[in-house]
């Protein structure tokens, strides 16, 4: 473990066609840490990921990536035209890691060995995710970047996926940076939750809710081990256009997060 952060963003902003997509992003991702980004549609979550992994260059501010940072990226979705004959096996060799043992091991790790010879177009949503995860693992990353990994998967599938991710994290010790599609669910073990709406609304540690009676009644105690709810209060509200509505400052800020100061941007 080094003390250099894997990725650090300092006051980074991104504009495209004179439109502000992200502004005032400050973020530090350390080795072995889990950061979950949540936020409404159009908040710029995917854009933030792409900014952090270097696909977009910030218009202002700075993004620094540690030299030892090796990223395994899992996209939000993958559409492959039916005209392309492609087996899972061939798809995985595209990672550049052609070691057959490594491929088989990655498939075992994500529980998808039985899919090795399948055509990739025939996979279900959950199966495809596992294969995408295996592809990311073949890069032997110390940072897994996952864009809405639980999207299009039912609650059971989400739970399995989060279990799988925490297993991978324990085994490989890699950091995880992910976007959650749900405002209230983040993976257990998350060190930092970032609530995004073009700027970082607030960030902090998620509260453990596995003991909360209403939560247990809804999802059962088993689920509580793997999914936690991040409860937080905003010190401001958003208008429909995403701007900040004034005059709604709530007085009871909790310690679980720090709200950002909107006077600065």
């Amino acid at each position: 473990m080094t003390t250099t952060p894997l990725i650090q963003a300092t006051d980074a902003s991104l504009e495209h066609n004179k439109q502000v997509l992200l502004t005032g992003i400050n973020l530090t991702l350390l080795d072995g840490e889990i950061i979950t980004v949540i936020g409404p549609n159009g908040a710029g979550k995917t854009t933030l990921l792409k900014l952090l992994i270097g696909e977009h260059k910030p218009t202002s501010g700075e993004i620094t990536q540690a030299k030892h940072c090796r990223i395994g990226y899992m996209p939000q979705r993958l559409h492959i035209d039916n005209s392309l004959p492609l087996t899972v096996q061939r798809f995985l060799t595209m990672s550049g890691n052609k070691n057959q043992d490594a491929i088989e091991q990655a498939l075992v790790e994500v529980g998808a060995s039985h899919l090795q010879r399948s055509a990739i177009q025939t996979l279900s949503g959950g199966e495809l995710q596992r294969v995408l995860l295996a592809r990311a693992l073949l890069r032997e990353p110390n940072l897994l970047v996952l864009d809405e990994p639980a999207q299009g998967v039912d609650l059971h599938g989400q739970r399995e996926l989060y279990q799988l991710l925490s297993k991978i994290k324990d085994k490989r010790g890699c950091a995880i940076l992910m976007v959650s599609h749900d405002l209230s669910f983040v993976m257990a073990g998350t060190d930092q939750v970032i609530c995004l709406n073009r700027h970082v609304c607030c960030s902090g540690t998620p509260e453990s809710v596995s003991q909360h009676p209403e939560y247990l009644a809804l999802f059962g105690s088993e689920l509580g081990k793997d999914i936690a709810i991040y409860t937080h209060h905003h010190d401001h509200q958003h208008r429909l256009d995403g701007g900040i509505a004034v005059g709604n400052k709530s007085q009871d800020q909790t310690n679980s997060h720090k709200g950002c100061d909107h006077g600065n941007h």
Partner: protein
């Protein structure tokens, strides 16, 4: 024996084109780019007329224009201000119209429009063979070097980018390769049918393949068969060569699909 000597250059050119069309045509099918091939072919007439005006080899004129079109399309793809097919339509018909207008003003030389539209494989000479061979070799080497990056970019540009592949350069490389292919394909099957040579063998190969590489190889084989059959039938029944080749490719396409459904 005389017949073989007569058609040998045509046969060589046709076979080389069919072989290289296999992998490149597969990319056209996978990437749904057939209209892109048409656009390049339409713009080729402008290249031919420019070649006449500046008294350079028509292949160079066609190359210059098709590569220019590929560059313009690559830029417009990244800007995304206009839907891709609208942009393709504007460039295809704009350059075709310009080519026709300029061709009509050339008093001294008549451009053979029929040869432009449908190709004139039987008129190729050994100089053409050299041109086509040179370009096919360039394309073959480029494909070999870029194959994995091309495929990765096609399958998921997001993963490819995260893995450090320069996806915009790779896409541009594919467009320029297609521009080169169109420039040599003009001679064989003509502007109207060059896209057919790219997509029909590849589409026929789809059901016979389990991997991208198998499909590319099968497409080359099917293309080669179509060229041989087309040239033969053209000789036997005195039919136009380009359309005969395309027709044979269509028959092979039907055959591969019938085989599967029984």
């Amino acid at each position: 024996m005389e017949i073989i000597e007569l058609i040998l250059p045509s046969l060589i050119v046709g076979l080389m084109l069919a072989a290289i069309c296999g992998p490149l045509g597969s990319f056209v099918v996978w990437g749904r780019m057939s209209y892109f091939g048409d656009t390049l072919a339409h713009s080729a007439l402008l290249g031919m007329t420019l070649g006449v005006i500046f008294q350079i080899h028509p292949v160079i004129g066609v190359l210059a224009i098709t590569i220019a079109v590929a560059l313009v399309l690559s830029v417009s793809q990244q800007q995304r201000k206009l839907a891709n097919d609208a942009m393709l339509g504007i460039i295809a018909h704009g350059t075709l119209a310009a080519g026709l207008v300029i061709a009509s003003q050339l008093d001294t030389v008549r451009i053979d429009l029929m040869a432009f539209l449908f190709g004139d494989l039987l008129s190729v000479n050994y100089q053409d063979v050299l041109w086509v061979a040179a370009i096919c070799i360039i394309l073959g080497i480029a494909l070999k070097l870029l194959w994995n990056n091309l495929l990765s970019t096609l399958v998921s540009s997001e993963i490819a980018q995260a893995e450090g592949i320069p996806i915009h350069k790779i896409r541009l490389a594919l467009l320029i390769m297609l521009a080169l292919l169109v420039a040599i394909g003009m001679k064989v099957v003509g502007a109207l049918l060059i896209t057919a040579m790219m997509i029909i063998p590849a589409a026929s190969a789809r059901r016979l393949a389990q991997t991208p590489e198998q499909m590319a190889l099968m497409a080359s084989i099917i293309g080669v068969l179509a060229v041989i059959a087309g040239l033969l039938s053209s000789f036997i029944w005195d039919t136009p060569t380009g359309p005969s080749i395309v027709l044979c490719a269509c028959l092979l396409f039907t055959a591969t699909h019938l085989k599967q459904s029984t």
